[in-house]
Symmetry: C2
Subunit: 242 residues, 2 copies
DNA sequence: TAGTGGTCTAGACCACGAG
DNA sequence: TCGTGGTCTAGACCACTAA
């Protein structure tokens, strides 16, 4: 229960934790309406303002969404969000571009040491490894290598290579109940290998932007390692610092 | 004055605008304490809660800083913030590294067309152009080309090359009253020119991470264009997506 | 029209920092 | 001890949505 003793954590913080737990445990699912602020206040024995403060902060963290007149919802990956929240490659005019994906391979294997450490797995664990090529504006631009823990993604290892959707995060949510909530990216400049160069239609050794992403759920469990190599001929990676 | 008529903008929004104007116009300067919430509420004829909501949002935008028991302050660039808020290069263990700078040149020139368009200047305007090399962990790692409008930065064109401090944003604030508040960065992979390669102690044609930054003040006026070329031998660019 | 979130108020008490 | 921000309450009214 909530405690409002002297040295204790503020009520609205405790309520945030409670809501996060409700989502992590699946009691509230992406897209669901949660009870109204007044209802929650009564249930929790606090004022509406306190519930409101908790919800406000979760909305700022993209965990919940408010819609006036309708209610408060658990955030989910419409393709809009999946795409433009996590995909930072734009064309040189700064316009967002819809990528088109071709799966090159999709198989199970044992994780390398770095893979298992980045995913927080025991070394040598079984993982699913997906390779795909993505076109932007009809030009081959990105090569992605995606590594997922076999638990719970194992069944993807049996999937035909062409059965994977363009928007993986939407699929993780719908098929596996896993919502990607935050990610950390590391960017480097590298030289294209011969294979990469030929797939991307570039001279061998051409410079590529390497983006290594670790994607995590709401409770910060890493669930996907994604290494993208991207030509920046006609596109670039864009980010904003506030 | 503030208006609370039917279709009008919420009071706390109007108060935010007012506070931002106070800062942009120099009535409140970085590091200053602003009046207390209760005082502001009385002055503005609203409740403390409304002032509080305005301040809360400005704190979230890094415009103000609250310190319990002391007051609310206009945010400023201590070296901590200047460095780690805008500088995203870390070593391969993910540790922040303090860069050490050497100014290679510092002169006035006419802006190219792209420079003037990115800085929102008339084409051919006079600008100050600074080139410097930065070492991380004693290794030459970054080459920066910084372009600033002569208005108000002109006097930097006359400065001896070695008189520039390591932390430029702190200097912009103290010498010119300009606080960098937000920035947009574009990242690309490029090949090192011969000059770049020799300065960074790399083979010619080595891949470099190019970071083009447009830095802006609180009112979104662009004031600095900075193009950095960075070897990612032992370091990388790190960003987090929430 | 009923129910939701959005804004705003007035006032209580706590936690922290400085003198 | 006093003044600051930090938390929490109780209740008013507005704006929007759906039935």
């Amino acid at each position: 229960m909530l405690s409002n003793a002297k040295g204790s954590i503020p009520l609205y913080m405790q309520i945030k934790e409670l809501f996060v737990a409700n989502i992590s445990d699946g009691r509230w699912s992406p897209g669901d309406v949660i009870p109204s602020e007044i209802q929650l206040a009564q249930d929790l024995g606090v004022s509406q303002g306190t519930v409101r403060k908790a919800i406000t902060e979760l909305v700022e963290n993209n965990v919940l969404t408010r819609r006036q007149g309708r209610g408060t919802f658990v955030a989910f990956h419409d393709s809009e969000r999946a795409l433009f929240h996590f995909f930072h490659i734009v064309d040189n005019k700064g316009h967002k571009v819809l990528p088109e994906s071709t799966t090159l391979s999709c198989r199970r294997k044992r994780a390398t040491r770095t893979e298992s450490s980045k995913l927080g797995l025991a070394s040598g664990s079984s993982v699913v490894c997906i390779e795909r090529m993505r076109k932007l504006d009809d030009q081959p631009t990105l090569l992605e290598t995606i590594t997922l823990p076999s638990e719970p993604f194992g069944e993807l290892g049996n999937v035909g290579a062409c059965d994977l959707p363009n928007m993986l995060y939407e699929m993780y949510e719908q098929k596996f109940g896993i919502t990607i909530h935050n990610a950390e990216e590391q960017l480097r400049a590298v030289s294209a290998s011969e294979r990469e160069a030929s797939l991307l239609d570039l001279p061998a050794g051409a410079p590529l932007l390497e983006i290594e992403r670790i994607a995590r759920t709401l409770d910060n469990t890493p669930v996907e390692l994604r290494v993208s190599r991207c030509t920046t001929r006609n596109h670039h990676y864009r980010t904003t610092i506030f």
